[in-house]
């Protein structure tokens, strides 16, 4: 293989000719010579695939949410209205059903509670652990591997493990509670504890992720900042609080966005934990409500409307994030 630098030098000696060449290509040359077109065989097929399956499907879903599509058969696109959204907000008996359909406020509230508690605790645990792991400890790789291990598991598997941990008679959680004289407590089917139990299991699964993100953030801070703070005589805790943690803002934001989106996807976990579409009202989130309405009740259009609400929630979190990333030139 020829040395690329030699080639480059040769070409630079020929500078004028190359430039004239390039000039022709951009000014008078056919559209086929443009880089966007020449590289199209590479980016266009994947782009069409996501265009069809992601963006096409989102638009189709919005249209479906305006129909009365219910049960078997195919959707009727001739009469579109916002009825499903009215039902989603205030409830009532829709034209496509004889039964009263409840609004989504309960599921929406649970979604927000789960999202906020899960993300905040994950970040806090992750931050503390990242700081501890960052103390030039021995066996760092082993500790990191263990902390991130649950992340490699499926939601379905995690749910099975925690269903067992939470079991009234044989679960380790109740055995530990019994050892300190509490319980046994019904956890999984207890309306007061359900959502907390779900959040706890998800924190178990994903706090290691927050740790990895924070650890990368800590390692990116120049050593001099740690040293400068120490020379000033600041205590360790003060140093982290005043000097280090404020510099982790980027890490916090990116971990937060990813964790929130994970919590929106907690459907798999709830489906596995409750063995189906019915987690019960106190653990019902928008993700489970949507799938239940569509796939268990056959209320396809209503499910689509809930999906649009979920999509808007995700967009409200992600769009500002992508926009700031774009402005900083980090995309």
């Amino acid at each position: 293989m020829r040395n690329p630098l030699t080639i480059l030098r040769q070409r630079l000696e020929d500078h004028r000719e190359v430039r004239a060449d390039g000039g022709t290509a951009t000014e008078a040359g056919s559209i086929l010579d443009r880089d966007s077109v020449r590289s199209a065989p590479f980016w266009l097929p994947p782009f069409l695939l996501i265009g069809l399956f992601i963006y096409g499907a989102i638009i189709w879903n919005i249209v479906l949410s305006l129909t009365d599509f219910q049960g078997l058969g195919s959707p009727d696109y001739s009469a579109l209205d916002f009825e499903n959204y009215v039902i989603a907000f205030v409830g009532g008996t829709p034209s496509w059903s004889e039964l009263t359909v409840s609004p989504v406020w309960n599921a929406a509230w649970n979604t927000v509670v789960l999202m906020v508690s899960f993300s905040v605790v994950c970040l806090a645990v992750g931050l503390v652990m990242a700081i501890l792991v960052d103390q030039e400890i021995r066996f760092e790789n082993t500790f990191r591997t263990i902390y991130l291990l649950p992340m490699s598991l499926s939601f379905v598997v995690t749910a099975k493990f925690w269903l067992y941990m939470y079991n009234v008679e044989t679960g380790l959680v109740n055995i530990i509670l019994g050892a300190v004289g509490v319980g046994p407590i019904e956890i999984v089917q207890n309306p007061d504890l359900k959502l907390a139990a779900v959040a706890f299991a998800l924190i178990w699964q994903f706090s290691g992720y927050a740790m990895i993100v924070y650890l990368a953030g800590l390692r990116a801070i120049p050593t001099s900042h740690f040293e400068a703070a120490r020379v000033d005589g600041a205590s360790t805790i003060r140093m982290y609080w005043r000097v280090i943690i404020p510099q982790l803002r980027t890490a916090t934001v990116s971990a937060l966005v990813v964790l929130t989106v994970f919590s929106l996807k907690a459907f798999d976990f709830l489906f596995s934990m409750y063995g189906g579409y019915q987690p019960g009202p106190s653990a019902d989130i928008l993700a489970t409500r949507m799938v239940r309405e569509a796939y268990a009740n056959g209320n396809w259009a209503y499910g689509s409307a809930i999906a649009v609400l979920l999509f808007i929630m995700a967009l409200a979190i992600v769009a500002p994030y992508i926009y700031t990333q774009y402005q900083r030139g980090e995309l």
């Binding site: 480059l8 070409r11 399956f53 792991v133 379905v156 067992y164 740690f226 063995g275 999906a307």
Partner: protein, 307 residues
């Protein structure tokens, strides 16, 4: 960044400062917290269901040495293999092509949108990135409509079923492969783009000046340099697709094409109650491929999730 002080005069135990000892105790305690649900599951999965009492779920089955811990048995694992066998096969049929396809297409997209630079590519790329964060619920009903009522994939598979190894129900797995490829593309493109941005422009520019075509640049320069990133992407995608339930639930729905996560949901529950040893064995069996990948290639997995 060390905050280890080790100052003279600090109290120590066998030459270690108390502070260090507490630090390690906390780290080990957290390690135990992350491992115990898995450890408990593993111990329970090797107890014979007849002797299972549930009194000491975290202890290995040591009967008759330790009463109440149950007898050692591989019966739960045998039951798990019976119950999940078909699902495991279907998951492999799904995950291998979907992982390779999404990785390959992701690398191509990142190349076309990064290495070859042109105006407006960032707009296209933003659509890729946004795709990472779409809640799947927002596309489920259209996907079901698309695969069941628009594309005659099932009809296309009926004549193919005469071939050896092909069954009619494989059409659902093909639909799932294409769907997972499309939804894996955004994250794959992001990972590859981050990698390609770090590559020096010199070689590509030199090759361009030399008159190399875009395809040659990809094949001769970029692809060989992408191999470490392919490892990261393949591991990440493998884990994601293997672990997914929602797409399988809404595209496969039920029947012979059910994947392993679907089979796992209902296993170990019967009229007579829950068979915990079987259920734990099944959970571990379903998790085994991703656990092995994680244990052997953990550093690459960490790279993938941290990106």
């Amino acid at each position: 960044m060390s905050t280890e002080t080790g100052r003279a005069g600090e109290r120590t135990l066998f030459g270690h400062s108390w502070r260090r000892i507490v630090l390690y105790l906390v780290l080990i305690g957290m390690g135990a917290f992350y491992l115990i649900p898995i450890e408990t599951g593993l111990m329970t999965s090797i107890i014979s269901p007849e002797t299972y009492s549930g009194n000491f779920p975290y202890l290995p089955p040591l009967e008759p040495l330790v009463p109440g811990t149950g007898e050692l048995s591989i019966e739960p694992w045998r039951g798990a293999i019976d119950g999940l066998g078909q699902g495991l096969v279907n998951s492999v049929i799904l995950v291998v092509p979907a992982t390779i396809l999404s990785g390959l297409l992701g690398s191509m997209a990142a190349f076309g949108l990064t290495t070859i630079s042109w105006r407006g590519q960032i707009g296209i790329y933003i659509l890729f990135v946004a795709g990472i964060f779409i809640p799947y619920q927002a596309v489920l009903v259209p996907l079901t409509q698309f695969w069941y009522n628009v594309v005659p994939l099932r009809a296309a598979f009926e004549p193919l079923a005469a071939l050896p190894l092909v069954e009619t129900y494989h059409w659902k797995l093909l639909a799932l492969i294409i769907t997972h490829t499309a939804y894996g593309l955004p994250i794959c493109t992001l990972l590859f783009r981050a990698h390609y941005k770090k590559l020096s422009d010199e070689m590509v520019e030199a090759a361009q000046l030399d008159g190399a075509s875009v395809a040659t640049i990809y094949r001769r320069i970029i692809l060989p340099l992408s191999i470490p990133m392919f490892a990261v992407v393949f591991i990440y995608q493998f884990t994601q697709i293997w672990n997914d339930l929602l797409f399988a639930l809404t595209i496969v729905q039920f029947g012979d094409a059910a994947v392993v996560t679907q089979d796992l949901v209902g296993i170990g529950v019967s009229q007579s109650g829950t068979n915990f040893p079987l259920r734990m064995a099944a959970a571990l069996l379903a998790a085994l491929p991703t656990l092995l990948v994680y244990i052997f290639f953990g550093d690459k997995f960490a790279k993938g999730v941290a990106a």
